[in-house]
Symmetry: C2
Subunit: 582 residues, 2 copies
């Protein structure tokens, strides 16, 4: 009797919890330890990257992961602080409040709430598809530009120079060059040795551990957790040598940590409206990025990712982040992949990861006081360097230079116009290139391959043609932007070939005809008729035919409509001149 309501409730649980097996528990808990080792340095570093006090990153590593685990559709995606959302947060808040001030922290939380609310709204309107308009080239260019921006932003911390500010990429670089002579040798040596240690761990760490007897997968995984050991080692050196005195090495310092309870930041409506474009940009980029990670993990496990539910889950995770003292979060590629490698079976690994982070906040915060910022910066630089994926650019350069142009334009705009404008420019540019291409469609004069029913381009194949018949395949939907181009080209071909009495349009690639194109075809039909040339159509697609029948155009047509080009040719070969011209 009791089982029935529970069975109904079960439907509301996330997929991984509905079918949870006891045997998954131990692997999940084990994986959560690795996750925590990654989360500690990343959450501190990404918060600094966003211009926030480090503890905000710790808070953002607790609630969002649990909320996503309970609402998302991916069984492995790790949600929390990520580099891209952090640098976008810094960009959105620049100039609105002094960096790391209480107002700045409140605005960051508000940004998470707005972007979370937007995602929930978009998801409930089933508007997740808008993310489709961010092409691979726009996203790739955006990430590349952001990576450069982040690395440039870390240079002052790595060099130990202070007071380097600037609204634009150029200003930061120029001010950095001016401040360069005042660099701190101790800081630079910490930064360089951290960087070298991280690179060495990445390059040889796994292999070394494997030689020491660890299984290859386990060794590789331990290699991934190198940042926590490198940063910890740097902290140890600083503490032992007392390098963090006044004028010395900058460290995190004492963190005023508290129980991350729920509280909603009170900020003016004006500020909220001002944050709206950035919140939308963060929502879309974060969604595109997360869903790509979730889908690549899902393919291996034959799971299905539902984009609209995923968008809602990310929205709820951001609402949770904003209400518990955090800032915008997203799905992390690195931590999700580490989850998979560490043998995590379900989202329980992420839930436990969040709980460990809560324990860190409550009991181990004093351990961070003497962490040198330069070592954290080094972990950011290396993480971001790995994020920079130029494979799309290489593919685009080889395959379609227009896409490479979109990539480059978006990347440059991130540096010089900011994230929101970069996305706008990228999307509009990509759409304009698409429209440009469709406005000058490919058209081919075709003939019949001897002995077959197939028609092919006369310039590519040896085909049969007839002097009184011009058969043309139009390789694009007909619409206002290309109909004049198409009809002009057809008229020019007809003028060149005085013997032509039949124009046969093969419509197999015409997926739609709009009103302007229909008017254009009517004019073409009338004009050809006055020249004694009949217009015939073949291979019209079903949906197009349905609309043409309703328009009355087929009754005006001087020629006929044929099911296939072959059928048309058979009929027209025996008709030297059109009926109306006799």
């Amino acid at each position: 009797m009791m089982a029935a309501p529970f069975a109904a409730l079960r439907h509301y649980l996330p997929p991984w919890l509905q079918h949870y097996r006891r045997t998954d528990f131990a692997p999940d808990v084990l994986a959560s330890l690795t996750l925590t080792l990654l989360l500690i340095p990343q959450s501190l570093a990404y918060a600094l990257l966003a211009g926030l006090p480090p503890q905000v990153g710790l808070y953002a590593s607790i609630a969002p992961g649990i909320v996503y685990a309970l609402t998302g559709t991916s069984s492995l995606l790790a949600v929390g602080p990520v580099a891209l959302a952090s640098v976008m947060t810094a960009g959105a808040l620049a100039g609105l409040a002094p960096v790391a001030s209480a107002d700045y922290v409140a605005l960051a939380a508000l940004l998470a709430i707005i972007s979370g609310g937007l995602r929930v709204l978009l998801a409930s309107l089933r508007f997740g598809f808008v993310a489709n308009f961010l092409s691979a080239s726009v996203v790739g260019g955006f990430i590349a530009g952001s990576a450069l921006l982040i690395i440039a932003g870390q240079l002052p911390t790595l060099l130990g120079v202070t007071g380097v500010q600037g609204a634009t990429f150029w200003q930061v670089l120029r001010n950095l060059l001016r401040a360069l002579p005042g660099f701190n040798p101790l800081v630079l040596s910490i930064a360089l040795s951290s960087l070298l240690a991280l690179i060495a761990c990445k390059a040889w760490g796994g292999r070394l551990l494997a030689r020491l007897g660890l299984p290859a997968a386990r060794a590789d995984l331990l290699g991934r957790t190198a940042p926590v050991f490198v940063v910890g080692g740097a902290a140890l050196v600083v503490a032992m040598l007392d390098w963090d005195g006044p004028g010395g090495v900058a460290v995190i310092g004492a963190l005023p940590l508290r129980w991350p309870g729920v509280h909603i930041p009170l900020v003016s409506v004006d500020a909220a409206l001002q944050l709206l474009p950035a919140a939308l940009a963060i929502s879309l980029v974060g969604f595109v990025d997360s869903i790509a990670v979730a889908q690549s993990l899902a393919i291996k496990r034959r799971e299905k990712i539902d984009p609209d539910r995923e968008l809602r889950a990310l929205g709820l995770a951001n609402l949770a982040a904003g209400m518990t003292g955090g800032y915008p979060v997203s799905g992390s590629f690195g931590r999700s992949a580490a989850n998979s490698q560490a043998g995590a079976r379900t989202q329980l690994a992420n839930v436990f990861g969040s709980l460990w982070m809560l324990a860190v906040v409550l009991f181990a915060s004093s351990a961070f006081a003497r962490l040198p910022l330069a070592a954290l910066s080094a972990t950011i630089v290396l993480a971001v360097w790995q994020m920079l994926d130029l494979s799309i650019l290489r593919l685009a350069r080889r395959y379609d230079r227009r896409d490479a142009l979109v990539f480059a334009a978006t990347a440059l705009c991130v540096l010089f116009l900011g994230a929101v404008n970069a996305i706008l420019v990228g999307v509009v540019f990509a759409l304009l290139l698409f429209i440009w291409r469709t406005s000058k469609p490919h058209m081919a004069i075709v003939g019949r391959l001897p002995g077959t029913e197939h028609f092919r381009n006369v310039q590519r194949h040896r085909v049969e043609t007839q002097p009184q018949i011009l058969a043309v395949r139009i390789d694009e939907s007909l619409y206002f932007a290309n109909v004049r181009f198409v009809t002009n080209q057809l008229a020019a071909w007809i003028n060149e070939q005085a013997e032509v009495r039949h124009l046969l349009l093969i419509m197999s690639a015409v997926n739609a005809i709009d009103v302007s194109a229909l008017e254009g075809l009517r004019e073409l039909n009338r004009g050809l008729e006055e020249q004694g040339v009949a217009l015939h159509l073949a291979e019209i697609k079903g949906p197009v035919m349905d609309k043409l029948v309703g328009s009355g155009f087929l009754a005006e047509l001087s020629g006929r409509v044929y099911l296939s080009g072959h059928e048309a040719l058979q009929a027209l070969e025996t008709v030297p001149t059109p009926d109306f011209a006799i």
Copy 2:
């Protein structure tokens, strides 16, 4: 010896002059008389419509027609003042200077020069194609909105109320309603009788003249010239009854006419920049409108219109208009059609029309002093009413409601946001609808028509299918905005049909694949491979195949590429499971 250089020079002459025949001379001169009878009332009325003193319309009827005749490619198109360019001029100059002031006149001339220069520039860059982006629905909606705007603007003149001003359509209507009680009965009676006379002439005039013994074509032509007689009659009545005293009927008054010599208006750079958007809008709309007229006349005469030369010729005509005291001009549908009907053979008819107008300016200007404005307004209202062509809207409502939406949106924007914004909104809206449609493409599961090599939609035809083969035709180019939609739909179909081992994509309607779509196909291929399903492609178009070969994708493909769907099916029918899954 002398013939050779002349023959070379001849090449630079306009087509009609290169082959001018003596027998064309008499018909051309005769037609030019009809043209002049149309031009006199229209040039005065359209100048008033633009907010300009009436003589500006007369000036704009002289030089532009001659310049177009010498540079254009149409043998009949009559270029001069038109309603659409006039109302757009009024919109562009609203608020920049007091209506009909010297500054206003100078700005109107500047507008003509800027829009002329823009057209010459666009033409020399071979950018005439940008006019293609104005779809039939945008142009139709724009004309409909402008017609309503013009008619509303004529109401104060028709009613004889003064001081009705307003920045927006609503303001004009509201102020008109307030001023209504002060209407002038004499003015209203002139307006109504002019309107009735014009309507009667249009409805019965031709037939009546035919009954009186005139040949039908000649009678119809004389009917077209009714406005000059109606306006002349109204002037006679006003003069005889002395209705044009103070507080009486508004008349044109004495025109300060002069020889229309060349002078360039001196206006600030700021003003020029301010006029730029409007100049671009006038250029594009005027071009689209003129070329449609030119092409419809050319089809009947088997002439060829070259869009870029046409754009340049219209640009030069506008430069001439601006430098001789005129304002923006364009090709007139009504006067061009009258040219054709009056038997004009070449542009010489327009050249003589311009010369007659020069004679009118120099010797007959006093005849206009007592022309009542209300009668001129009546001719505008009727001309504009005829311009209002709702056939596109009717076709769109039946054929494609999205086009009807674009029409309505553009028309409303003309009324409430102004001409420039209306064109922007219309073009962007039309492009977004196009992108929206291509982002959710039609896809059909297809099977083979028994006994043929043709594949058709399983839902439309009785076709043969195989349980282990899913053949899908994609009816759209693949690009970033639709690739996720397409791959999700394919994955859903595969999940529904557990027996499927081969997915065959029929690519006959895929005219392009961009980088994002290529990435999507690669992911699909990998995902299907992990599920034991092979991906095959058939009927790839030549240009698409060329690019795919270069991309390396075909080497990754788990299945094969076939020339035709038929060939693919023959090969796959004998393969129960893909090679890699065995």
